[in-house]
């Protein structure tokens, strides 16, 4: 490493100074192996992250003033024609809206999608690591990785950092040999299989809408409408969700981005529909 050389820094015994590293076939990656190092974090010795991190960031007399982005609404559900993924696009830092145009669906590869809820950086970073692991799997095994395996890879990776402050609630959506698949993975190491999930501060509102209108035999258009509607209602009531609704459809041939609709537009659209119904 250039900086290390300039400062005259010498790594005596490369194994003892740093904490958990990803183990490769050739042994522990060293600092010089930048490609390997980017897929794992090294920690300085003597810091007990699991003990200190919670108090550092959440206690009232903490000196740390960074507030993490946690607000979002994301949802995904399986139905007869595949899986629908719908997300909002707002990023907040405390009471301030930082962005209304965040991409909360991460395109891992043409047949795998991941959603983002919790810490934006954590989700984006680890899902990109997942993408590279999936590609290596594909090359080694001459066949696409199954969604079960991909979600398990992610869950096992973040479990290594459990209690150290990662914040990630993601849904892994894909279509593999066993059909459409939907998994929920979070930074506590939880991994659940299911046919409907909603994650984020606005998920409570989205669940209400989803649960009342969801059926397995929805038509494609009905499913798109349901996804958009659920996100809209969440953005309407949850302060930390808003922006636009990004809608994706996972089909047998891979994912397709269906639409990007401004929630304000949806608001007036649904208002008009309600009034029409009322007049009848």
């Amino acid at each position: 490493m250039a900086l290390a050389d300039v400062c005259g820094f010498k790594l005596g015994n490369e194994h003892s100074y740093f904490g958990p590293c990803a183990e490769g076939e050739m042994g522990m990656p060293t600092l010089k192996d930048a490609l390997r190092m980017s897929e794992s974090f090294t920690f300085p010795c003597g810091v007990n992250l699991q003990r200190d991190i919670n108090t550092a960031f959440t206690s009232d007399d903490s000196k740390v003033k960074i507030q993490f982005d946690h607000g979002t609404t994301t949802l995904a559900f399986k139905f007869q024609h595949g899986v629908i993924v719908a997300v909002d696009s707002r990023a907040t830092a405390g009471p301030s809206i930082e962005s209304q145009t965040v991409k909360k669906v991460i395109e891992i590869n043409p047949y795998l999608l991941g959603t983002m809820a919790g810490g934006a950086a954590d989700c984006m970073y680890w899902e990109r690591v997942l993408a590279s692991q999936c590609r290596v799997y594909e090359l080694r095994n001459k066949e696409r990785i199954s969604v079960a395996a991909a979600s398990k890879l992610l869950a096992n990776i973040v479990y290594d950092y459990k209690g150290m402050g990662l914040s990630m609630g993601t849904m892994i959506v894909g279509w593999d040999k066993k059909g459409p698949a939907l998994y929920y993975v979070d930074s506590d190491g939880e991994r659940l299989v299911g046919h409907m999930f909603s994650v984020g501060s606005g998920s409570v509102y989205a669940y209400g809408v989803l649960d009342s209108d969801y059926r397995w035999d929805l038509t494609q258009e009905e499913a798109y409408d349901l996804g958009r509607r659920a996100i809209y209602h969440a953005t309407h009531r949850d302060a930390y969700s808003g922006g636009v609704v990004n809608l994706y459809h996972m089909k047998e041939t891979g994912w397709e981005k269906i639409s990007q609709t401004d929630t304000a537009e949806l608001h007036y659209q649904y208002k008009a529909e309600k009034e029409k119904k009322g007049k009848k």
Binding site: N141, A148, A149, K152
Partner: protein
């Protein structure tokens, strides 16, 4: 600690040979014969059972090992080395099930065994594994597979193969008698395995161990009376062949 073993045992010779690996292959040639035949719906493994001493318990010598519900391994060579490989392979099968939520394909576990063997041809202070393995089973999609690995760490897929003592003779026999029609008939596959073994082994069920795997069914070790039945059939067929030839004359 590894500094003490700076000089690797497996090094290249001036003319490009890895002598330790070749010597390991010699060890394999001294081991008891193993035959594998792959059919359309069945895979068969047969091994030669060396005569046991009077006081020795018969069934404690097992040369066909189950790696997982759907994959089995037979070997020729050093039994102790095989035990290590089989243990590691069994763990890998379960580890794969845990991380990927799917059973291993036969190729995957063969690759794993081959990778392990290769590592020992390139490491300090370790000698290569002295065994070749025949790994057979069914993939998830129902395709039957038969692979062979050797001490150098290479592996190939085979329709029928043999390793160990007199492998060359038996392989020539298999090449002559393996046909596409035979593939589809389970009994014929079993008989071919037995016929292959009979080329090198004295006739008798007590000199062979045969394992059969059918799609979606567990590995089945054939009982000695079943083997005897097949052997009787084979001998009858051979007599009939000989009769026909006599008549033609």
């Amino acid at each position: 600690m590894s500094n003490r073993y700076d000089s690797a045992i497996t090094v290249f010779s001036p003319d490009g040979h890895l002598f330790q690996v070749e010597y390991a292959q010699e060890a394999v040639k001294k081991g008891s014969t193993a035959v594998g035949v792959r059919g359309k719906n069945i895979v068969v493994l047969g091994v030669e059972k060396k005569a046991v001493a009077k006081l020795q318990e018969d069934r404690t010598v097992r040369k066909i090992a189950l790696l997982d519900d759907h994959v089995a391994l037979a070997f020729a060579g050093l039994t102790a080395d095989a035990r290590i490989l089989i243990n590691r392979a069994r763990i890998e099968c379960q580890s794969h099930r845990l991380s990927v939520e799917d059973p291993v394909t036969v190729e995957y576990i063969t690759q794993y065994v081959a990778k392990l063997k290769q590592r020992y041809t390139q490491s300090n202070g370790m000698r290569p594994f002295g065994l070749s393995a025949l790994i057979m089973g069914f993939d998830n999609d129902g395709t039957p597979r038969l692979y062979q690995t050797d001490p150098s760490g290479t592996y190939h897929e085979w329709k029928a193969n043999t390793i160990g003592r007199s492998a060359k003779t038996v392989r020539e026999f298999l090449e002559k008698h393996y046909t596409e029609e035979l593939q589809a008939n389970d009994d014929e596959c079993i008989k071919l395995t037995l016929k292959g073994l009979l080329e090198v082994v004295q006739s008798g069920a007590k000199n062979m161990e045969v394992a059969v795997m059918r799609r979606d069914k567990p590995l089945q070790m054939m009982e000695s009376d079943e083997i005897e039945k097949y052997i009787t059939e084979i001998e009858k067929e051979r007599e009939e062949e000989a009769e026909k030839k006599k008549q033609k004359k």
